[in-house]
Amino acid sequence: MKIGVVTFPGTLDDRDAARAVRLAGGEVVKLWHADADLHKVDAVVLPGGFSFGDYLRCGAIAAQAPVMESIIDAANGGLPVLGICNGFQVLVESHLLPGGLIRNEHQHFVCRDQKLIVENVDTAWTNGFKLGQEITIPLKNGEGGYIADDETLRRLEGDGLITFRYSEVNPNGSVNNIAGLRNERGNVVGLMPHPEHAVEPGFGPDTPLAMRSGVDGLTFFISVLNQVVNS
């Protein structure tokens, strides 16, 4: 199973995302922003960090990159796509997911191990979770405040498109505690926190069992591999 990991100018977490794919048992294909060829991958990860200086708005210029034209087409055809942090912002700016992300309400960059509630498991990237499961993965962003107009929010809530909500702490002022979304088909998922940083014991968030032993993020990547195998 080949999972493409995109690198934009400014991407930081492409290597961690690639490592997460490998740990889950997938084969990594590096995708470059200027190359529209998706090299026959079975799924795509848009990793976090920054892109094109995030001029204009976070993710806005990346959304116009040649690779995104192909990814938007493929996503509309059902290709699984996961956008993490800046990747989520790219998905929003590409109109694959609705709404917008603005500077954190408290105006500070935030970096913490964040508890999330899994609100939807009918997606390519969350089918390995249990509905309502609480997971902990790192969050690190300055512009992670999710907003949308009231009509969009009603649709997101009504159609069950909210995939993750912040638990205990809303770290950035996101409306309705929204941490992540899916599209109608369930192949596209975007979230602000970073599953790729919680995939290997010794390097993840602390758990009651042991320091840095949290690997809740690995389930994202196992989920997509299972989905691709079963489809």
Binding site: A60, R103, G145, A148
Partner: protein, 82 residues
């Protein structure tokens, strides 16, 4: 040089952290008469010759589709400057 000027502002009912930071700095400077600050963007599109109606229409489209995100921002003006 002929230009089309696009001005984009954060939506009125949304938090504008940059404006808020500047407003509190102005308070510290003693400019108590200023009650609020909002910061937007001015984007200049340059042309070889005076923009045609078609250019202006295209610029309005670009302003709506790409230079702004309608969820968080408003395009407040698109004007020609020769």
């Amino acid at each position: 040089m002929p230009k089309i000027i696009v001005e984009v502002m954060p939506k009125a009912d949304l938090l504008d952290p940059a404006g808020k930071a500047v407003a509190s700095a102005l308070q510290r400077r003693g400019n108590d008469e200023i009650t609020n600050v909002r910061i937007g963007k001015r984007i200049e599109l340059h042309y070889e010759s005076t923009p045609t109606d078609k250019d202006i229409e295209a610029a309005k489209q670009i302003a709506a589709d790409f230079l702004s995100n309608g969820v968080i921002e408003d395009v407040v003006s698109v004007t020609v400057e020769n």
